[in-house]
C-alpha cells in the first residue's frame, strides 16, 4: 500500500461518523484538560484511557491522539491568560503571550497561538505521513539487538535532555526499569520481588504509574498552590482579530519552527517542551529586533506555538513506525495502544492499516477542529480556568481512582496509586524528572525481552551489540548523549575556575 492508498483508507476511518465524533471528543477533552494549569498531556491521556475499554481500537486511538495534541493546543490558553502554563510545552508561549494579554490584547494572542498551532500541527502531519511509512519499511528488518540499542538510546536521550541534573534523570530511568522487574518474569516464570504477594504477580499496570506519578502528583502540587489566582470573571479578552500584517509577521517563524519542531519531535528525548524553547531562542537570535521578545512580540508567540504542536505530531513517527516512544507522553500513548490490543511498530502499517493511516488522517481533521473550535469559542472555553481549585483537585483525584479501579477491580491497586502518587510528589519536590521514569517503565519490559532474545541468538555473547553497524552506532550515540553534556559542563566549570 502506498501513501496515497493509505491516506484513502485513513480518511475512510477519520471521516466516518464514529471517526469524526471521537476526534471531536478527543480534541475538546484534550484542550480542556491541557488548559488546566498543572495538568499535562500525560494526565490527560491517562485519565481518558479507561473510557476506551471495550471500544473499537481505531476510533479509540484516534480519540487518544486527539487528547494528546488537543492538550498541547489547549496548554497555550492558560500560558497566555494566567502566565501559568497548562503544560510544560507551553512555558515558552507565556514569554510573549502573557505580556500581550497584559496589554489588553489577550484575544489577539489566543488567536495567533491558535493559528500558529494549527499551522505547525498541519505541516507536521504532512511530514509524518511521508516519513512514518518510510521508517516502517526500514524498521521491519531490525533485529532484537537494534531494538535494544534503540530503546537504550531513547532512555539516555531523555535522561540527558531532562531539566536539571542528568544523574537524577538517570536514577529516575533506572528506578522505572527496576519497578518493571517486579512480578512474574514472563520468560522463565520466576517470581521477582513479589514477596509472595498475589497482587504483585502481574506487576504494576502502567496506568497506576502514569496516574500516580503524574495526575496524583500534579494534584499535590495543585493543593500547595490552591490559592493561586484562577481566571477572574471580569478579565477582558479583547478582539480576536488578526490583521494581514500580523499574519505576514508570523509567517516566517511559523514556517521555520514547524520544521524545527517536527524534527525535534521525531528525535528521542526531546519533544514539545524542548522544541518550544529552542524555537523561541532560534527566532530571537535571528530577529532584527530581539529586544521586542518578551514584551509581547508576535514572532515570539508564534514560534513556540507552531513548534510545540509540530513536535507533538513528530513524536508519532517513532511511536507508529518503530513502536518505541521517545518521550514520557508517547510512552503513555503506547500504553493506550497496548490496552486496546494494538502493538505499534513496523508491522502496524501492513497489519492494521486502518489504525496506522486512520490516526494520521484524523490529525488533519483534528487540527481543523481545534482551529475552528478555538477561534470563536476561546472566550467560552477559557471559562474552565475559573473552576475553583479545590473542586478541580477533588475531581481529578476521583478520575484517577476510578481509572485505576476499572482496570483491575482490585483495591490493592488503588493503594499503589497512592504510593506512586507520593513518590511522584517527592520526585517533583526533590527535582527528579518523572518522564524518564514512565518511559523506562514502558520500555523496560520490552528492553529486557530484546536483550534476552539477542543473547539467545548470540549464545550469550555480548559482542552481538557491537558486531553490526546499526546497533553499534546507536549504542555509541546513547553513550555520547550521556557523556557530552557532562564534558561540556566540566569544561565550562574549568574555564570559570581559571577566570
Amino acid at each position: 500500500m502506498n501513501a496515497f492508498d493509505g491516506m484513502i483508507t485513513g480518511f475512510q476511518v477519520a471521516l466516518s461518523w464514529e471517526g469524526i465524533l471521537f476526534v471531536l471528543i478527543g480534541v475538546i477533552v484534550g484542550t480542556l484538560i491541557g488548559m488546566m494549569p498543572g495538568l499535562g498531556p500525560i494526565s490527560a491521556i491517562a485519565i481518558m484511557i479507561p473510557i476506551t475499554y471495550g471500544m473499537d481500537p481505531a476510533p479509540a486511538l484516534v480519540m487518544m491522539a486527539g487528547v494528546y495534541y488537543g492538550a498541547v493546543f489547549g496548554g497555550s490558553t492558560s500560558s497566555i491568560l494566567l502566565n501559568a502554563p497548562g503544560i510544560s510545552g507551553t512555558v515558552a508561549t507565556a514569554f510573549d503571550g502573557y505580556p500581550m494579554a497584559q496589554q489588553g490584547k489577550a484575544g489577539k494572542a489566543l488567536a495567533i497561538a491558535a493559528i500558529a498551532s494549527f499551522f505547525g500541527g498541519t505541516v507536521s502531519v504532512i511530514m509524518l505521513m511521508l516519513l512514518a511509512p518510510a521508517l516502517s519499511s526500514v524498521a521491519i528488518s531490525f533485529g532484537p539487538p537494534a531494538y535494544f540499542a534503540l530503546m537504550l538510546m531513547g532512555l539516555t536521550a531523555i535522561s540527558s535532555l531532562s531539566e536539571g541534573s542528568t544523574i537524577k534523570a538517570m536514577i529516575s530511568a533506572v528506578a522505572g526499569v527496576m519497578v518493571v522487574t517486579i512480578g512474574i518474569d514472563p520468560q522463565t516464570g520466576t517470581q521477582r520481588f513479589t514477596f509472595g504477594n498475589v497482587n504483585l504477580f502481574d506487576g504494576f499496570d502502567f496506568l497506576i504509574i502514569a496516574l500516580g506519578l503524574f495526575a496524583i502528583a500534579e494534584v499535590c502540587m495543585l493543593v500547595l498552590n490552591r490559592k493561586n489566582r484562577s481566571l477572574s470573571d471580569d478579565q477582558k479578552l479583547g478582539s480576536l482579530k488578526v490583521t494581514r500584517a500580523d499574519l505576514k509577521e508570523m509567517s516566517g517563524p511559523m514556517t521555520r519552527q514547524s520544521f524545527v519542531g517536527f524534527i525535534l519531535g521525531v528525535l528521542p528525548g526531546a519533544g514539545a517542551t524542548i522544541a518550544s524553547f529552542i524555537s523561541y531562542i532560534f527566532e530571537k537570535r535571528i530577529s532584527k529586533n530581539p529586544e521586542e521578545f518578551g514584551k509581547g512580540s508576535i514572532k515570539g508567540l508564534a514560534a513556540p506555538e507552531s513548534s510545540n504542536n509540530a513536535a507533538t505530531s513528530g513524536a508519532f513517527v517513532p511511536l507508529l513506525s518503530l513502536g518505541i516512544p521517545g518521550s514520557g507522553t508517547t510512552a503513555v500513548m503506547l500504553g493506550a495502544f497496548l490496552v486496546l490490543g494494538v502493538q505499534p511498530g513496523p508491522l502496524l502499517m501492513t497489519d492494521r492499516p486502518e489504525i496506522f493511516w486512520g490516526i494520521i488522517a484524523s490529525m488533519y481533521l483534528g487540527n481543523i477542529f481545534l482551529l475552528v473550535l478555538n477561534l470563536p469559542l476561546i472566550p467560552y472555553l477559557a471559562k474552565i480556568l475559573s473552576i475553583p481549585r479545590p473542586l478541580l483537585i477533588s475531581l481529578v483525584i476521583m478520575f484517577s481512582l476510578i481509572g485505576v479501579y476499572s482496570i483491575s477491580f482490585n483495591v490493592f491497586d488503588l493503594y499503589m496509586l497512592l504510593v506512586f502518587g507520593a513518590l511522584g510528589f517527592a520526585m517533583r519536590v526533590f527535582s527528579f524528572p518523572a518522564p524518564p521514569f514512565i518511559l523506562a517503565f514502558i520500555l523496560g519490559g520490552m528492553m529486557e525481552q530484546a536483550f534476552r532474545q539477542s543473547m539467545t541468538i548470540s549464545n550469550g555473547n555480548l559482542a552481538i551489540f557491537v558486531n553490526s553497524p546499526l546497533p553499534l552506532s546507536l549504542i555509541l550515540i546513547a553513550f555520547l548523549s550521556l557523556v557530552i553534556p557532562g564534558l561540556l559542563k566540566w569544561r565550562g566549570r574549568r574555564r570559570l575556575a581559571k577566570m
Binding site: P50, K168, I171, M178, T181, T190, P388, S394, L418, F451
Partner: protein
Amino acid sequence: MLSTINQRIGLILFIIAAIYLFLSFQLPNYPYAPIDADVIPKGLGVLMLVLSAALFFSRVIETEAEKEKRNIPKKELLVLLAVFAMIFFYILLFELIGFIIMTTVFIFFSSWFLGYTKWKTNIIVSILFPLGMYAIFVFALGISLPRGILPI
C-alpha cells in the same frame, strides 16, 4: 557528613539499591537459560549503586529554584497529608459503602477542606458527578462500580 540534600537522597537510594541487589542474588538460577531472570535485576542494582554514589559525591550545587521547590511550609504538608488520609479512607470504605455515596462524601468534604466556600455549588457537584460517572461507567461502558449499600 550529610550536609547537602543530594547526599542524603544519595544515601537513601544507595541503601535501596543494596537491598534490591541483595534480593536479586536470591533469585533462583536455571542451568540452561543463556540469560536468566536474575541478570537484568543484578545489572540494574549495580547501576543504581553507581548512580546513587555519583549523586552523593557530585559537587553540583542546588539552584535557588530547586531549593525553593523543597521549601514547603509545615502547615501545607499537613494539608497534603490530610488529603492523602481522605483518599485512604475512601479506598478503605468505597467497596463496602458503595461508589456513589463515598464519592459524594469525598468530593464534598475534600473541596470544603481545601477552602471551597460555596457550599450550594459544592453539594450540586458532589451529587451530580458520581451519578454521571456511575451512569457512564456502568450503563455506557459496562464496567461495574461497587454498589455498596444502595439498591441500584
